[in-house]
Symmetry: C2
C-alpha cells in the first residue's frame, strides 16, 4: 500500500473556495453536527473542516482541483441517510453537500429519461414523475435519500423484484473525478458495448471514485393500478417458502416484503396504528408477506389477486387480506416504511447488516441468525425483501455499555456475514460498505479482488483524496 498524507485546509484555501462559491462555504461552528455522521450514529467519528454547498458541476470541479493540488480530502455527501458511514469525513477536509443541487432538469418523454442534478431527493423525483404519468421504478425504503446517493450504493428497495435496482435505471452521468476533471459517462440509450463500463464502475462506488453531479435516469410509463396483499403466516418458514411460487406462476409481483411479528409490533407502537392482524382463526401470526401487484386495470389485478390467493393459501398462508383502496395500501406500506424509524425510536444502540442471500436460503439463514440471539445481550430484529433475498438484520440494545455492544456486535456480524457467504450470498444488498463494513468485505472478497479494487481506486484517485478510508482502502 502506498503512503498517502493530507494537508490541513489553510485560511488562504478557504478564501479561494469562497471566491468560487460565494456564500456557500462554512467552517467551525457554522457546520451542524449532523454533518459528522449518517443515519447510523455508531459510524460517526469525523467532522469536515470545511462544508461547501454544491452549486454546479463546474464549481465542484474547481474546488476539487484545488483540493487535489493541495492534497486535501474531499467528501461528497447526499442527504446523509447512509447506514455504513460512507459519507463521514474520517480525515477532515472539505465536505461537499450535494443535497443543494436538487433540480429536476428535463424530461425526455420520447426516450423515457429524466435528467436531474444528483442532489434531487428520491421522493421528489418519484412524485414529480408520477405527475407526468411516469414511474421511476427504484424504490428504496428511505425516500429522502438523494438520487446521487442511491446511485452510489446501487440502492435496491422494494420494487427490485420486478424492476431491478438503481443500476438498471442509470443511463448516463456527469462526474467530477478526484483530479477535478469532468467526465460524462453513458448516453440516453439502453445498449452499450463501448469500452470498459466506467458508468457501471461508478455505480455503487460510494463516492470514492468520483462525485456524481448529474444523472440521466430511465423512467417507464406508470402502471395505472396497484393492489397490495397482506398475507399472514404462522411462522417465517412457511412465509418464505411461498415466495418462489409467485414467480413460477408468472404472477410478477412489484414487491414482496417479509416481516416478523416483533418488527410489526414495534412499528404499530411507533405509528399508534394497527394494520396487521395478530391472530386469525385461533392461530397466532408469526410472520407476514406484504405483496404488491401492478397493472393496467383493476380487472386484471383482481384476477392476479385471486390466483395469488389460491397459491398462497395452498402453501400454508392463514388468510389473504386485500388492500385495494388508497387508504388501505397507504397504511400497509406506511407500516413497512416505518420499520427503521420504529426501531430507532425505541433503541439506544443500533447496528445493522443488509446481507443478500439466494431467495431459497432466506428461511434457513434467518433461523440461523435468530438462533444466535441467546448468545448476546442485544435483541435481533429483521425484515426485508423476500423477493430478492435482501435481509435487514438489526442488533438493538438499550441497557448495554457501548463498547460491550460494539464488541458483541462485531462477533455477531462476523458470524452472520460468514454464514451469508456460505449460503451463496453477499455482504451488502443495497446499503454498501462505507467504512463500517470494510473488514467484512475484505474477508468476503478475498485478497485478489481487494487488490483489484485498490488498484482501481489508485487509478481514479492517485492522491487518495476522494472520500478516503472507505470500501477497500484503509488509511
Amino acid at each position: 500500500m502506498a503512503d498517502y498524507s493530507y494537508n490541513q485546509v489553510t485560511p488562504e484555501l478557504i478564501e479561494e473556495f469562497k471566491k468560487i462559491v460565494p456564500g456557500k462555504v462554512f467552517t467551525g461552528d457554522e457546520i451542524n453536527a449532523d454533518y459528522s455522521h449518517d443515519e447510523m450514529p455508531i459510524y460517526g467519528k469525523g467532522a469536515p473542516t470545511v462544508l461547501i454547498e454544491a452549486t454546479t458541476t463546474e464549481d465542484i470541479s474547481a474546488i476539487v482541483k484545488l483540493c487535489f493540488e493541495n492534497s486535501i480530502p474531499v467528501i461528497p455527501r447526499g442527504a446523509g441517510t447512509g447506514l455504513t458511514g460512507a459519507s463521514v469525513a474520517l480525515h477532515g477536509g472539505v465536505m461537499i453537500d450535494m443535497s443543494k443541487m436538487n433540480k429536476i432538469l428535463e424530461y425526455d418523454k420520447e426516450n423515457f429519461v429524466v435528467r436531474v442534478e444528483a442532489g434531487v431527493l428520491l421522493n421528489d423525483l418519484a412524485e414529480d414523475a408520477q405527475k407526468q404519468g411516469l414511474l421511476y421504478p427504484p424504490d428504496p425504503g428511505e425516500k429522502f435519500a438523494t438520487l446521487g446517493g442511491n446511485v452510489s450504493t446501487n440502492a435496491g428497495g422494494m420494487r427490485a423484484v420486478k424492476y431491478g435496482c438503481t443500476r438498471d435505471y442509470v443511463r448516463a452521468m456527469t462526474v467530477v473525478l478526484p483530479t477535478g476533471e469532468i467526465v460524462k459517462l453513458g448516453a440516453t440509450v439502453s445498449k452499450t458495448s463501448t469500452g470498459y463500463s466506467l458508468l457501471n464502475l461508478m455505480i455503487g462506488s460510494e463516492g470514492t471514485l468520483g462525485i456524481i453531479t448529474e444523472l440521466t435516469l430511465k423512467l417507464i410509463p406508470a402502471p395505472k393500478e396497484t393492489i397490495s396483499l397482506i398475507i399472514p403466516y404462522e411462522n417465517l418458514e412457511d412465509c418464505i417458502a411461498t415466495v418462489p411460487k409467485f414467480f413460477m406462476e408468472h404472477l410478477q409481483p412489484q414487491a414482496i416484503e417479509f416481516m416478523e411479528k416483533e418488527i410489526v409490533l414495534a412499528s404499530e407502537r411507533y405509528l399508534g396504528k394497527s394494520v396487521f392482524p395478530q391472530q386469525l382463526e385461533g392461530v397466532d401470526i408469526g410472520a407476514y408477506l406484504l405483496v404488491t401487484f401492478d397493472g393496467e386495470d383493476m380487472e386484471s389485478l383482481e384476477e392476479i389477486t385471486e390466483k395469488a390467493a389460491e397459491v398462497v393459501l395452498e402453501a400454508g398462508a392463514i388468510d389473504v387480506l386485500v388492500a385495494d383502496t388508497p387508504a388501505k395500501k397507504k397504511d400497509a406500506w406506511a407500516a413497512r416504511s416505518s420499520f427503521l424509524e420504529a426501531i430507532e425510536a425505541e433503541t439506544k444502540l443500533l447496528d445493522e447488516c443488509d446481507v443478500v442471500v439466494p431467495v431459497n436460503q432466506i428461511a434457513s439463514y434467518l433461523t440461523f441468525v435468530k438462533s444466535l440471539e441467546s448468545n448476546y445481550d442485544f435483541t435481533i430484529k429483521s425484515f426485508g425483501h423476500a423477493g430478492d433475498g435482501n435481509l435487514h438484520i438489526y442488533a438493538c440494545a438499550n441497557d448495554m455499555d457501548e463498547a460491550e455492544f460494539k464488541k458483541q456486535v462485531a462477533d455477531f456480524m462476523d458470524i452472520i456475514y460468514k454464514k451469508a457467504a456460505e449460503c451463496g450470498g453477499l455482504i451488502s444488498g443495497e446499503h454498501g460498505i462505507g467504512y463500517g463494513k470494510m473488514d467484512y468485505l475484505a474477508a468476503f472478497a478475498g485478497e485478489t479482488s481487494m487488490r483489484l479494487m485498490k488498484g482501481i481506486k489508485e487509478v481514479f484517485d492517485p492522491k487518495m483524496i476522494l472520500n478516503p478510508g472507505k470500501i477497500c482502502y484503509k488509511l
Copy 2:
C-alpha cells in the same frame, strides 16, 4: 504508456502445456485458418502460435500462469462470431478456444438461474431452457456465439427493448485473471452493493481483463405465447416515428426491429422466399417494422395486437400483417436473422458499425447516413433494433480495390461515428470495440476516460498479456 514486450512460445513451454491438457494443444498446420479471424475478415491479421482447447478453469489458470511468467500473449476465443477483431491474435501467442467448455451445468429453479461453462452456445442454452419452461431473455442476432462471448460484449439483441441486455442477466462468473489467479464475482442474487462491481467491469471487457470460464445466468419463466406483426410503411421516417407510441400505450413489445426494403430484398434472394409484402394498396413499401409481443395467453395477445394495430395505422402504417402461427413467425424472424448472412453472400468487401442513438434520433440519423452514399463507391445497407436505437450499418462493395475500400470506409465511419456522438449516442451498442474500432472509441470517449480505461487494464494485466492491443491499449 509503459513498454511491453512478449516472448516467443518455446518448444519447452509447449511441452508444459501438453502436460496440463494432453491432446488439447495444437501448433502450426494443426491450427485451422479460421482461428486467424472472426466473422469480419477485414479485421483478420494475426494467427496464434499455439491453440489450446479449454477444459477446466483450473487448467486455464495453470496455462495462463505459465504465460504470465513467460510474458506470452493469451487470447481467449469463443465461437469466433465477433465483428471487430476482438478475438484475433495480433501478437501471436496462445489462443484458448473456449467453445470446448460447453456444458450446461445446473439449473436452480427456485432461484431462477442456470450455471453454464462459458463456451456454451447461446442457441443451446436458449433451446434447453425452453424445454424447462424457462427463458434466457437475451437474444442477439447471432445464435451460435458462446455465452462467454455474449457477456464479453454485453450483447444486446432483439429482446433488449423489453428484457434488457446480457449485462442484466449475469448474476455471477468465474474468471481467470491475466496473472492466472481465479476469482469468483457476484452471486445468485439480484441486489448488490458489495464494493466496486468487478462483475460489471468484466462484462463488456472483450476478454482483455480476464478469461470468463463459468457463468451463472438469470432466467425467467417462459412467456406462454408470442405473436409477431409485420408492419409495412411507405418510408423509414414514418416507420421509426411509430416506435415511441408502443411504449406510451404500455404495449411492452418483446422486440421491435426495423428494416429497409433493400435489405429485405437481399434476404429474400438469399433465402429464396418472400415473406414481406413489397406493394400494398398501390403503395410501394419502403420500410417495415417487425414487432413481437409475448404474454400468458392468446386472448390477451390478440387484445394487444388490436390496440397496436390501431396505434400504428393511425400513425401512417400501410397495413398490419399478423404472424400468429409458428410457421409464419418462423418465416418472418428467419428473414430478419438472415440479414448479415444475406449481405455476406452477395458482398466481397464488407465493414460495419453498430452505433446506438436515442430512439427518437434513429430516423434523422439514418437519413443522414443514407445521404452520404453518393460520396462513396460502396453501397450502404441498414437494419436494426428500433426499440433501442441500435443500428447496424453495412458498407458493401464487390468491385472495389481493398485498399481503396478501406480508405473510403475509414472516411465514412469517421463521419457517422461523429454524427452518432452528436445525436447523443455511443460507438457500439453490442458488437464492441475489439481492435477495429479503437480509434473511434478514443475519439469518442476522450483522453480522460481513455486514461482511466488504460489504468484499469494495467491493474488487471500488469504484463499486458491478455488479449493485447484491444479496446483501449494499442501495442
